[in-house]
């Protein structure tokens, strides 16, 4: 078990460190695209992806880095993509908001809120039609559950008994708009989803191992019963909605709430659990991650500008 925890912790730490590097390097003005950092929310991606096989499919939205990395997406190509380079995952054409890594079945990230929910259902349906047993995980935020396409997608998944895990990362905000300006407190996502006929579960804490164990069970259910499920997890982002900085100065979030969530930081929690202070082992882990990140940035810097001729070929003309 402890080995397992360590493994998950490392993944989580790696994502955090990558995102922090993106954040600190952003001022160099070389990653010139919008970035929605996952810092604070990594545990969910790591815990859930740990229960996935390579063949399982994943789609996500604008806040995609943790999901992409959690599922094993190529780091170098991701950093290159953020730099708009030809060697990026989408040849630099997509930027941070359009990550994909088909080798790892990370099928799409798309920044129009809610849109990938339906697309993900389509992927799962294709699998079902072909008799494949792989599951599809669809990540989205609390805001996305307000889009009509959320209802339409869940309805279809339920109708066709698709193997889908819907994961709502409920960070209580859509951009800087708090949930109480968007949803009645009487709204209950799990109940709503159960009304559609989908088994649904709530976790009020994004604790790494809790999410891991819960999602393991749910994924087993999905596979055995061949029905979709929904997992709604409370979580919190630390930085601004979009961009590399903190935006606490804007005061749109209750400082107590921010503090509460930072106290519940999963990196710190599991670091304390796994390592003594000044652990050399931890330092070694960090060093090796840092080296990997260095290399990824080097790869990105070395990448070429996309060629205009390639672009021409991508324009559908006939």
């Amino acid at each position: 078990m402890k080995k397992n925890i360590l493994k998950l912790f490392k993944k989580m730490l790696r994502i955090r460190m990558i995102e922090e590097r993106i954040s600190s390097n952003y001022k160099l003005q070389m990653m010139r695209c919008p970035v929605h950092l996952s810092i604070g929310q990594e545990s969910i991606a790591v815990a859930i992806c740990e229960n996935l096989k390579d063949q399982d499919l994943l789609v996500t939205a604008h806040r995609s880095h943790a999901h992409y990395l959690g599922k094993g997406g190529n780091l170098k190509k991701m950093i290159a993509e953020l730099h708009g380079k030809e060697n990026g995952v989408a040849g630099g054409l997509g930027g941070s908001m359009h990550l994909l890594d088909l080798k790892k079945n990370i099928m799409a990230a798309v920044p129009i809120v809610g849109s990938t929910i339906a697309i993900g259902v389509g992927l799962a349906w294709a699998n079902k039609l072909q008799g494949k047993k792989d599951i599809t995980v669809i990540f989205f935020g609390d805001g996305a559950t307000e889009e009509g396409i959320f209802l339409e997608s869940l309805d279809f998944a339920s109708l066709h008994n698709l193997r889908i895990l819907f994961v709502c990362e409920d960070n209580k905000f859509s951009v800087n708009t708090p949930i109480n300006q968007r949803q009645n407190p009487k709204r209950n996502l799990c109940k709503l989803s159960e009304g559609i006929g989908i088994k649904s579960y709530k976790l009020k804490d994004h604790d790494l191992m809790k999410v891991f164990l819960k999602s393991k069970k749910i994924i087993n259910y999905i596979k055995n019963v061949s029905r979709p499920s929904l997992l709604d997890i409370d979580t919190y982002r630390y930085l601004e909605h979009c961009g590399p900085n903190s935006d606490d100065y804007l005061n749109y979030r209750n400082p107590k709430e921010v503090k509460k969530w930072k106290k519940n930081c999963q990196i710190e929690k599991y670091q304390n659990l796994l390592f003594k202070q000044k652990s050399t082992k931890l330092n070694d882990i960090k060093k090796s991650i840092n080296k990997e990140i260095d290399n990824a940035f080097k790869y990105a810097y070395a990448g070429k500008k996309p060629k205009k001729i390639i672009l021409e070929n991508l324009i559908i003309k006939k």
Binding site: A90, G91, G92, L93, G94, H98, L100, L102, M107, A108, V110, I112, S115, T116, I117, A118, I119, G120, V121, G122, L123, A124, W125, A126, N127, L129, Q130, G148, I149, L151, E152, S153, D155, F156, L159, I310, N313, L314, I315, I316, K317, K318
Partner: protein, 345 residues
């Protein structure tokens, strides 16, 4: 070997052929399993092709995204809307996602999706069931847009559209479904980017597409009585526009009337005229007519004048040719496609 079948039957045969041929293909949309089978274009296909034909919940945006998901997984997808108006609910998926997927994935993922959009007209369907709207789709890069006017093109272009690796918006006018035409008995395909010269002529070029081609041909009968030799072009493909064929024609006739099947403002006709002017400079007399730039009223008493019907086309041509009108066209109610029609759709 030839046979005579209706436009709607042509669509049916094309779907039937592709459903049979392709292993991974899905036909989906409201009413595809309905005994009426989307104006008899899908009747009983779901019985013949289990697990390939699916009726849908009333959730256009959702199932369009789902269709995209299938296409990403290498399914050929045909989506059906009984009126173009319903597809507006899925406009986000079409414009932001489907049209751009190939590009956004830097060419890694093709999305072979055909979206059938049926244009309504007549029998008091009113403002929300009788729009055309082709040009708003043609405006979007990444979409091919076609609008065949006869049974032959309908079949050939549907097969080509389904086999195309990229998204195709396929406009069918409700008033074409019952019209018969001659087609080969053998399977055939048609280009998705070629206009068709229906009739050669030297006096003026008339270009149209979809149902308006029928009206153009009707108008031409009267023009012929006046010994006017018009060159009639059926555009067929709205995006890309086969501008070469049009340019060649207008170089000869020096005059063109574009009959838009939709509204003219920022319409297909505006695009054609601009292309002519940009390519041939100041040499051609250009004119366009189309559906009135207004919502369409339900009342048959007033809806008629809103469409570019044959009498209007006829008059416009005479105006361009500066010929005084000697013929009086008599028209009956034009809110039905044919005498058999008894409503409601």
């Amino acid at each position: 070997m030839k046979k005579i079948i209706s436009y709607g039957r042509s669509i049916y045969e094309a779907l039937d052929y592709c459903l049979n041929k392709e292993k991974k293909i899905i036909l989906m949309g409201l009413g595809v399993n309905d005994p009426k089978g989307v104006f008899n274009t899908t009747t009983n296909l779901f019985k013949k092709y289990k697990n390939k034909v699916f009726d849908m919940p009333v959730a256009e945006n959702g199932f369009t995204g789902i269709g995209l998901g299938l296409a990403i997984m290498k399914y050929k997808v045909v989506i059906t809307h009984q009126r173009v108006e319903f597809s507006l609910l899925s406009f986000e998926q079409i414009v932001n996602q489907i049209a751009k997927w190939f590009f956004m994935s830097s060419g890694k993922v093709n999305v072979p999706i055909v979206i059938r959009l049926i244009i309504g007209k007549g029998w008091g369907q009113g403002p929300q069931h009788s729009q055309s709207l082709e040009s708003i789709f043609a405006h979007i890069p990444g979409l091919k847009v076609v609008a065949p006017s006869n049974a032959f093109d309908a079949k050939g272009m549907m097969i080509s559209a389904i086999q195309d690796p990229n998204p195709v918006i396929f406009f069918e006018h409700r008033w074409l479904h019952e019209i018969k035409g001659v087609i080969p008995k053998k399977i055939f395909k048609s280009n998705l980017n070629k206009a068709n010269i229906i009739k050669k002529g030297n006096d003026i070029t008339i270009v149209s597409y979809s149902y308006s081609v029928i009206e153009m041909i009707k108008a031409n009968k009267f023009l012929e009585k006046l010994k006017i030799k018009a060159e009639l072009i059926d555009l067929r493909s709205l995006k890309p526009i086969d501008i070469k064929t049009i340019l060649k024609s207008v170089k000869k006739t020096k005059k063109i009337l574009v009959v838009d099947n939709g509204m003219t403002t920022c319409g297909i006709s505006a695009e054609i005229i601009s292309l002519i002017v940009e390519n041939l400079g100041k040499k051609i007399v250009c004119k366009r007519i189309g559906v009135k730039n207004s919502p369409i009223p339900s009342s048959r008493f007033v809806a008629e004048g809103f469409y570019p019907e044959h009498d209007i086309i006829f008059k416009e041509v005479l105006k361009i040719l500066k010929i005084k009108n000697k013929l009086k066209l008599k028209k009956l109610f034009t809110d039905v496609p044919d005498k058999q029609f008894r409503g409601p759709f």
